[in-house]
């Protein structure tokens, strides 16, 4: 399966609603183990909300190694690559379990040290 992002979304991949459209189109084939190619030719502007929804949220259903094997990205410029890599990195952290109670304790401990 190959999707032209410019045809589907336009030259700006910015908002989460557009990312969701891409996610909805690729989740099923990826879940079946099909290869999917996203072609970014003609796309010039990028921001993280688009990639959080298009790709970041795939990590709750698909393992990162499988995603990297099945999802192919073409003609994405340097800016887009940086954003997508950062989103995958952070989404992997996000989908891991977090102990927020401990995080608050740690912040307070740090705060106490800094106020001495």
């Amino acid at each position: 399966m190959k999707i032209s992002i410019e045809d589907k979304i336009g030259p700006r991949c910015i908002i989460k609603e557009d990312g969701q459209k891409v996610y909805d189109a690729i989740l099923e084939p990826l879940s079946r183990g099909e290869d999917v190619t996203l072609d970014f030719a003609g796309v010039t502007q990028f921001a993280s909300p688009f990639f959080n929804f298009a790709i970041g949220q795939l990590l709750k259903d698909i393992k990162e190694t499988d995603l990297r094997r099945l999802l192919h990205i073409e003609n994405l410029n340097e800016t887009g690559k940086l954003v997508v890599e950062r989103v995958i990195e952070n989404a992997a952290k996000y989908h891991g379990d977090k102990d927020y109670r401990k995080i608050v304790d740690d912040i307070l401990e740090q705060q106490a040290k800094e106020s001495v």
Binding site: A47, N52, G56, V87, I107
Partner: protein
């Protein structure tokens, strides 16, 4: 200016009345307010936006194309710094993260206010974005209350909340990944020797070439003010495959 415009709209929203007494404003400042459309927006009879300034802007909702056009053509693309079209697009995309955060997290009911300014004396370009939502520390505390008790959460300072919010991969959004926007913005500012300042509730954050600092201020207010300052030195801006000019 963004703060002043937002305050005026907040007064309106709360059924108050405001008026600017234009006659009390210094002539050079008034010329600026006329040029960027601020005075015209608030009823001054003399103005309308004219070509060489960065317009004052009000957004009631997240208008992607309107905001991206503003950033791309009226802010970074205005010719203050000569960058390639590709880099101009990349910088505008980074700045979008500020607007996205303002709308996504603040819960602002009156919108987001912004303006820009080019300062020839030190060759810097400023973007200011203001929302009148709950503030980042308040949002962080609300998020943590789901997981731990109020006593602990209430001890978190504004500075600590901002510091947590600015870390990569942290987000207060439930059920959706995030935490990349501010991280990317911080990285961009550091690499390009710019400055990112955030005032939110009682917290203050500054990110510049010297690193990140978080402080608590005595005064707390409900809004968030973001200032980004870029140095207009073309040698600072290029992709790896573009030769510096």
């Amino acid at each position: 200016m963004a703060l002043l415009g937002g305050l005026a709209r907040l007064i309106e929203y709360r059924h108050g009345k405001f008026a600017f007494d234009w006659s009390t404003i210094r002539a050079d400042i008034m010329a600026n307010l006329n040029q960027n459309g601020f005075a015209g927006t608030f009823g001054s009879p003399f103005s309308g936006w004219s070509g060489n300034s960065i317009p004052y802007r009000e957004d009631r909702s997240l208008d992607m194309n309107g905001i991206m056009d503003y950033l791309t053509y009226n802010w970074i693309g205005k010719g203050w710094v000569h960058v390639s079209g590709r880099l101009r697009d990349a910088i505008a995309g980074r700045m979008w993260e500020i607007y996205n955060n303002a709308f996504e997290h603040s819960g602002t009911e009156i919108g987001v206010f912004s303006c820009g300014q080019y300062f020839p004396h030190n060759d810097t370009l400023l973007l200011s974005v203001v929302d009148f939502g709950q503030g980042i520390p308040a949002k962080v505390r609300t998020f943590f209350r789901q997981y731990t008790n109020e006593d602990l959460v209430s001890k978190l300072t504004g500075a600590s909340c901002l510091k947590w919010a600015f870390q990569a991969g942290t987000t207060t959004k439930v059920g959706e990944p995030g935490g990349s926007g501010l991280d990317l913005l911080k990285e961009f500012v550091r690499l390009n020797q710019g400055k990112l300042e955030v005032y939110s509730n009682e917290g203050y954050a500054i990110i510049d070439r010297d690193g990140e600092r978080y402080e608590n201020h005595g005064i707390s207010f409900e809004d968030t003010v973001v200032h980004i300052t870029l140095v207009c030195d073309e040698r600072l801006y290029h992709f790896k495959d573009e030769a510096p000019s």
